[in-house]
């Protein structure tokens, strides 16, 4: 029972990270109908930025704040400069461009920071927290907390501010949005910025667990894909819930099903993605998309 609870909590911690990254994928998907294959690498790059800021003597939270700011501006700039020219191109073109971004971020990170695995600090205390006989990792609890705060902030932003409302409107109906004075192009760019910001937080939360290296996010990204697929690419809340679900499933399956262990974890995500796409392509919480023909 203790092991079960511990696994659930640590599943929730990684699940929150999958969910955050899934959320950033969904935000971009909803606004621009694009799946950003570079989302994970952008998060990885941001995490390296935080790491090198800390190496230059900045405190954790200062580096954190600077990193999310830079990630936001970077995401915005990528949309404006790189994605905008191919906005109306066929899907294949857009996929190829985001893959181009993926390999560029990956290789530039390797170039600058090398492929050596680095430890990344956790901002939370190291003493384990005991509740009865169950021991919880403080970083797990902290990561869950940070994820939840981030999600609540985002929810409030989209739900209650007029900018958030305008972003939702622009994603839904660009033509009408222009008619009420919304600058649609900038809303899409803001979406990319926010997605990059969320990704950066996810990167910094997961790096203490899986360590820092240029390929660190590829596994996380496939889990984020699985989460977004499970929750539904059209449902931000669903993607987050999907993340928590995938995190817990992954941990429990790894603990209790010996065949899977740790070395087939990615395959579990693959199977999950294909199964969901076949059985319920819109995901658990998504809307079925009516396609114009």
């Amino acid at each position: 029972m203790e092991i079960f609870l511990q696994q659930v909590v640590s599943g929730l911690a990684t699940g929150g990270i999958y969910g955050s990254l899934a959320l950033s994928l969904v935000m971009i998907y909803q606004a621009t109908d694009v799946v950003n294959f570079a989302q994970g690498e952008m998060a990885m790059f941001s995490t390296y930025l935080a790491w090198s800021l800390m190496n230059h003597g900045l405190s954790y939270w200062l580096a954190f704040a600077l990193t999310v700011t830079v990630a936001f501006v970077g995401g915005l700039a990528i949309q404006r400069l790189i994605m905008r020219p191919v906005e109306n191109a066929p899907i294949l073109t857009i996929v190829i461009v985001t893959l181009g971004l993926l390999v560029i971020f990956n290789s530039v990170a390797g170039w600058i920071y090398s492929y050596i695995i680095q430890p990344f600090p956790s901002p939370f205390p190291t003493t384990a927290i005991r509740v009865g006989s169950v021991v919880f990792g403080p970083h797990d609890l902290g990561a869950i907390g940070v994820t939840l705060v981030l999600l609540i902030l985002l929810y409030a932003f989209f739900r209650f501010t007029s900018l958030g409302l305008a972003m939702r409107a622009a994603a839904q109906n660009p033509a009408s949005s222009r008619l009420v004075g919304i600058r649609v192009g900038w809303m899409l760019a803001l979406g990319w910025g926010l997605a990059a910001l969320v990704g950066a937080v996810a990167g910094m939360m997961v790096a203490p667990v899986i360590f820092l290296e240029p390929n660190m996010m590829s596994g996380i990204l496939i889990y984020a894909f699985a989460s977004a697929t499970l929750g539904g690419f059209t449902s931000p809340g669903g993607a987050v819930l999907g993340g928590f679900l995938v995190g817990v499933i992954e941990n429990l399956a790894g603990t209790y099903i010996s065949f899977i262990g740790t070395d087939l974890k990615l395959t579990v995500a693959l199977v999950l993605i294909i199964l969901v796409l076949l059985v319920k392509p819109s995901g658990l919480f998504g809307r079925a998309v009516v396609r114009r023909v």
């Binding site: 007029s162 409107a169 839904q172 009408s176 222009r178 008619l179 009420v180 004075g181 919304i182 649609v184």
Partner: protein, 237 residues
């Protein structure tokens, strides 16, 4: 005093096809102007040309200043509100969110709540439905929503694209009544594009008749309404 909106030699094209030829029309400050015409005459395109949604040549002046070539988003900020063809409802947002978006480009945000109240007085059905998603409204309700969303901008000029399209006669009469009230009470000038000529002529003070992208007749609506050919072709008596 110059008219509020004035088009001179206005042309518009979709791709290689020219759909408006040398249009000249105007809307007086505080007036209601209607553009009549059959399907495909270029009525909707005229409105789209005014708010920068199609490629145009020629001059468009608003309040004496050139506005042709400006982006749609910027025209909204000058006080031109457009209730578009097909109504342009944000189907996934609530009615109230739809209305709040109408005020997105407003300079004075302070009195939005008051304006919302007044708009709900014009359109009580929207108050009833304000927590519902826009997509769940009926056609008539969506048309009201489109007009309401345009009004909350506190526009100087309201562009209305076929508000009667697909609606029951009773609903149409209601909508026209509200447009007249708004025009009288708030001094909003209106450019109305309609196929329903008899209702439009009764509402408007000035009318233009459009055929295949050209103005073929214009004048005070009472005179246009008396013209024999107009009566035969558009009024049906």
């Amino acid at each position: 005093m110059p008219p509020l909106l004035e088009a001179l030699g206005l042309e518009a094209r979709y791709g290689w096809t020219k759909v408006l030829h040398d249009l000249r029309f105007s809307v007086e400050e505080g007036g209601i102007t209607t553009i009549l015409g059959a399907n495909g005459a270029g009525k909707t395109t005229t409105l789209r040309a005014v708010c920068g949604m199609v490629k145009t040549a020629g001059e468009i002046r608003f309040d004496g200043r050139r506005i042709d070539g400006k982006a749609t988003e910027d025209l909204v900020r000058l006080g031109i509100a457009h209730a578009p063809e097909g109504r342009g409802t944000f189907v996934g947002l609530t009615v109230e969110e739809n209305l709040r978006l109408g005020a997105y480009a407003r300079k004075t945000k302070a009195s939005i709540a008051d304006d919302l109240d007044r708009i709900y007085q014009y359109f009580p059905v929207l108050l009833e439905r304000r927590r519902q998603l826009g997509g769940t409204l009926s056609g008539g309700e969506q048309q009201m929503l489109a007009i309401a969303r345009a009004l909350i901008l506190r526009p100087r000029l309201l562009l209305l694209d076929e508000p009667s399209l697909g609606l029951a006669p009773l609903v149409v009469r209601e909508i026209f009544r509200i447009v007249r009230t708004i025009n009288k009470e708030q001094g909003v000038s209106v450019l109305l594009v309609e196929q329903n000529a008899s209702m439009a002529l009764r509402l408007a003070d000035h009318a233009y008749l459009l055929e295949t992208g050209r103005v073929v007749m214009s004048g005070p609506s009472t005179e246009v309404g008396k013209d024999d050919s107009v009566r035969r072709a558009y009024l049906g008596y």
